[in-house]
């Protein structure tokens, strides 16, 4: 299948998902619904290779070709930007360019880290987690309605739409601004500053570099979207499973139900498994979250610096769009990290809400131990430096602002 067929199938599946109300198995859900898998396929990466049992040789070669092309473009531009940064740092009058190249290094570095992380280092671990979550996932239709599972999926759909639109809007700014500059002021400028032995603004080389950089930024944007939605979806669904457990727990009534203890034991087993999954998630994602938060801080700081520099007005929009995109990215991760903490402690609160005050002492003791365990929240950390949640979001905004003050102080001198 070629690129256009892939795109067509991608669009049809998304449409069909919006129409049908059935909630499918988690793995299929990820594959069919999120752009992650289909976009990865577009750029040659495949995540669910094992599930596809894809033995088509031609397809594999085609995919490998695309993977290597994309990675080489990224590496090419990362190296060029780094060289540029090394050249212009400390030079008087080149403050804007220094800051901008630093921001782009952070962006490229983040994407490369994510590619390496998702597709090479932690791929098998992620697959195992997805399969384990898959076992918790199938809920009967009645349960879905009762426990608000459908609402969560709709929220995830909205999330995907928001992330995609914000990132696409950002990419558009990057692309059309040099064009506007060329049309209005007849100047040539690249999407982001690089160093090249031959001047890339020559009329011959300029279109090549422009197209390469467009592909670079497009791929970056798409991969950001996919990674964000995939990570957020994993965390959101784990949080949702905790929520469902909590609600099931609050409905247990040992007075009227003979099987109450059995149900309770099943819930406790499910909780233990989910807690295990959550700590696995934490092991997998913590270095990446740390890198993401800090890269986000640096990029926000760069955008703020540019907003206050005396540059042309149309370039200002680029950085406003950049700030909004970065805020959305950071907020997604922090919000769902906080949701995970809230949902896992909700199990303890709902354990209290069940009908434990009857005659059955054994039941009470089990409930007590459940509460004891569940009050310890499952957290996602940034490599143990910080608990990812809304406080980290505010902290990163404050830190970005303080770095900005530092930088503007340097600029004055």
């Amino acid at each position: 299948m070629n690129l256009s067929e892939n795109l067509r199938i991608f669009v049809t599946r998304i449409k069909s998902y919006f129409v049908s109300d059935e909630v499918r198995n988690f793995v299929l859900f990820l594959k069919d619904f999120f752009p992650s898998e289909n976009v990865y396929r577009l750029f040659g990466f495949t995540f669910f290779n094992k599930l596809q049992n894809n033995t088509n040789q031609k397809r594999q070669r085609w995919q490998k070709g695309i993977i290597w092309t994309v990675i080489s473009i990224y590496l090419f531009f990362t190296i060029l930007t780094t060289i540029d940064f090394a050249i212009v740092i400390g030079k008087p009058g080149k403050f804007a360019e220094t800051v901008e190249t630093f921001g782009w290094i952070a962006a490229h570095g983040l994407v490369l880290a994510k590619i390496f992380f998702f597709f090479y280092w932690k791929r098998d671990d992620l697959m195992k987690i997805v399969e384990r979550l898959d076992q918790h996932f199938p809920h009967s239709n009645r349960e879905q309605l009762q426990f608000g599972v459908i609402k969560i999926y709709q929220n995830l759909k909205t999330l995907f739409r928001i992330i995609l639109s914000v990132h696409a809007w950002n990419w558009l700014h990057f692309v059309y601004l040099p064009l506007i500059l060329f049309l209005i002021e007849n100047e040539l400028e690249l999407l982001h500053p690089i160093y090249f032995p031959v001047d890339p603004l020559q009329p011959l080389l300029y279109p090549i570099f422009f197209i390469l950089q467009t592909i670079d930024v497009l791929a970056m944007v798409f991969l950001f979207v996919s990674f964000e939605t995939f990570t957020s979806a994993l965390i959101c669904i784990t949080a949702m499973e905790f929520d469902v457990l909590a609600q099931k727990l609050s409905q247990i009534d040992p007075e009227s139900d003979e099987n109450a203890e059995v149900k309770l034991q099943r819930i406790i087993d499910a909780y233990n498994d989910l807690a295990d999954i959550a700590s696995e998630l934490e092991d997998i994602f913590s270095p990446l979250l740390l890198i993401q938060v800090f890269a986000g801080i640096f990029m926000i700081c760069v955008c703020i610096v540019f907003m206050f520099l005396p540059i042309r007005i149309y370039f200002m929009i680029k950085f406003v769009a950049g700030i909004i995109t970065l805020l959305v990215q950071l907020f997604c991760i922090c919000f769902y990290g906080e949701q995970l903490q809230i949902s896992s402690t909700r199990v303890a609160d709902e354990a209290y809400n069940c009908n434990w005050y009857g005659k059955n002492l054994k039941f009470r003791k089990i409930i007590l131990l459940t509460m004891l365990r569940a009050q310890h929240a499952q957290k996602l950390t940034g490599w143990k430096f910080m608990d990812v949640g809304l406080p980290v979001f505010y902290w990163s905004l404050q830190t970005a602002h303080s770095y900005y003050s530092l930088l503007s102080g340097l600029y004055e001198t």
Partner: protein, 480 residues
């Protein structure tokens, strides 16, 4: 035919005066009334239009006087002050369903014959406190409106104007009104002056009342929850005694099931402890700990650890009837269900009013920063100084009001655990002990009201606001 006044129960009945006043000053609350709703809707809409008109006039005045820094600051402070009022008005209008839902959570509560007296007592305490709070806040607001009006008639009614041509600051006359505002008519003198004056008086009084009364509604809810928690803490001890009778031999168990006379102020206590208790807070009375005969002598009481009444045909060691046993079990159920009810109410309060508190804090922070700047320019007891200090005290008092109630809720809910531990659980049955365990585990986490998850409402918040204000003031004074 006379229309029957509908009987309101629960929280609605307690807060009825508050609701009535809020409806009278134009809030968009249309439940709990008899009679046509359309007129009330019309009244509220007209009030909204008038307030928005005045607010827009203030903003136009702000926009027209941006050249001179001190005028800009003063006008911004006024605009922010009335932003509070408009925000609360619109918030209650948009979130009226949330208000009804929160009120509706406590429409009915469970009862238990043994604890009805304690319940009624704490309920009446809550009621009197709520009434007192409402009265004080309304009175203070009216007094502030009067004070503001009086202050207008002192000093010069002028403003500074930056003349761009001569590039200097000149003094220009403005109408002697409470708020510096632009009007589409000339309000310097004559009939229009008196109309503007009356309109501004109405606006100030009603805006401040609106903002403060919605805060009072929130505080009343929190107060109610605190008193309910006090009630729960108070009946913990009798509950332990009661549940001890289930599987421990207690010599005076008959006394526990006596109904308490309505006038007695004491909690449910054992016969031989009554003369030692002067008040219900007997946890402080150390001598009471060893006053029960049961503690001294082994003759009346078999040791709890070795008791095994399984062979006694399942009958109770104290010879309780089935009905009494049921009453004991239902007592624990009452306690737990009441606690869950309070938790539900607190989370509903947080959901309903949290965002309003967040918006309040945002506006207040900016306003207090600007007020700190204005305060550095005070150089004597002038109208300006009194105005600035008035604004400052009012803003801080508003924040203090909800912080103190939020803090009380946190303290009350975390002290439930201490109350559970400090009652004589070791005398109780196995059921009682596991009950205490579960309650302690649950109540370790205090119930908080959070401003849409950004911050928790407590005195820490107030302290940080006050500290930030003082810091800004010190820094600005140094800079001068």
């Amino acid at each position: 035919m006379q229309v029957q006044q509908p009987k309101y129960t629960g929280l609605v009945a307690d807060l009825l005066p508050n609701i009535r006043i809020m409806q009278a000053i134009g809030h968009f609350i249309f439940r709990y009334i008899t009679g046509p709703i359309l007129i009330r809707k019309l009244y509220s809409s007209v009030t909204l239009v008038l307030f928005l008109f005045q607010f827009v006039c203030i903003l136009i005045n702000l926009g027209a006087n941006t050249d001179e820094v001190s005028e800009l600051t003063a006008n911004t402070i006024t605009a922010l002050f009335f932003t509070h009022c408009i925000t609360k008005f619109i918030y209650v209008a948009l979130n009226a369903e949330g208000v009804y839902r929160t009120m509706g959570i406590w429409n009915q509560s469970n009862t238990h014959p043994l604890f009805a007296e304690s319940d009624a007592r704490y309920h009446s305490i809550a009621l009197s406190k709520m009434r007192r709070l409402l009265f004080l806040v309304t009175l203070t607001t009216c007094m502030i409106a009067v004070f503001w009006t009086t202050l207008t008639f002192f000093g010069d009614s002028t403003k500074l104007w930056k003349d761009k041509v001569a590039n200097e600051t000149i003094v220009v006359d403005i109408p002697r009104l409470m708020i510096k505002s632009w009007y589409p008519w000339n309000s310097m003198s004559g009939t229009f002056y008196y109309i503007s004056l009356a309109f501004q008086l109405y606006y100030i009084l009603f805006s401040m009342l609106q903002a403060n009364l919605s805060d009072v509604l929130f505080c009343s809810w929190v107060l109610f929850c605190c008193e309910q928690l006090q009630h729960l803490k108070g009946i913990m001890r009798p509950l332990m005694e009661l549940s001890a009778t289930l599987d421990t031999y207690r010599p005076n168990s008959a006394a526990l099931f006596r109904s308490i006379s309505a006038g007695s102020k004491s909690e449910l206590i054992l016969n031989d402890e009554m003369e030692n208790e002067k008040n219900s807070n007997y946890d402080m009375n150390i001598s009471a700990i060893y006053s029960t005969k049961a503690d001294w002598g082994a003759q009346y009481r078999a040791p709890t650890t070795l008791q095994n009444f399984n062979g006694m045909n399942g009958s109770n060691p104290n010879g309780l009837t089935k009905k009494q046993e049921l009453m004991v079990r239902s007592a624990i159920k009452y306690w737990v269900e009441r606690h869950k009810h309070v938790v539900r109410l607190v989370s509903a309060i947080g959901d309903t009013y949290g965002l309003a508190l967040l918006l309040h804090m945002l506006t207040s922070t900016i306003m207090l920063t600007l007020l700190a700047y204005q305060a550095t320019k005070i150089d004597g007891i002038t109208v300006f100084a009194l105005g600035v200090i008035g604004y400052l005290l009012y803003a801080l008092a508003q924040i203090f009001l909800f912080c103190i109630f939020g803090n009380r809720l946190i303290e009350e809910s975390s002290s439930v655990m201490e109350a559970a531990y400090s009652c004589h659980w070791y005398d109780g049955s196995e059921e009682a002990k596991t009950f205490v365990q579960i309650v302690c585990q649950q109540c370790q986490k205090a119930m908080t009201i959070s401003g849409a998850k950004f911050f928790t409402v407590s005195l820490d918040l107030f302290a940080s606001v006050l500290g930030a204000c003082v810091t800004y003031f010190m820094v600005l004074v140094q800079l001068k």
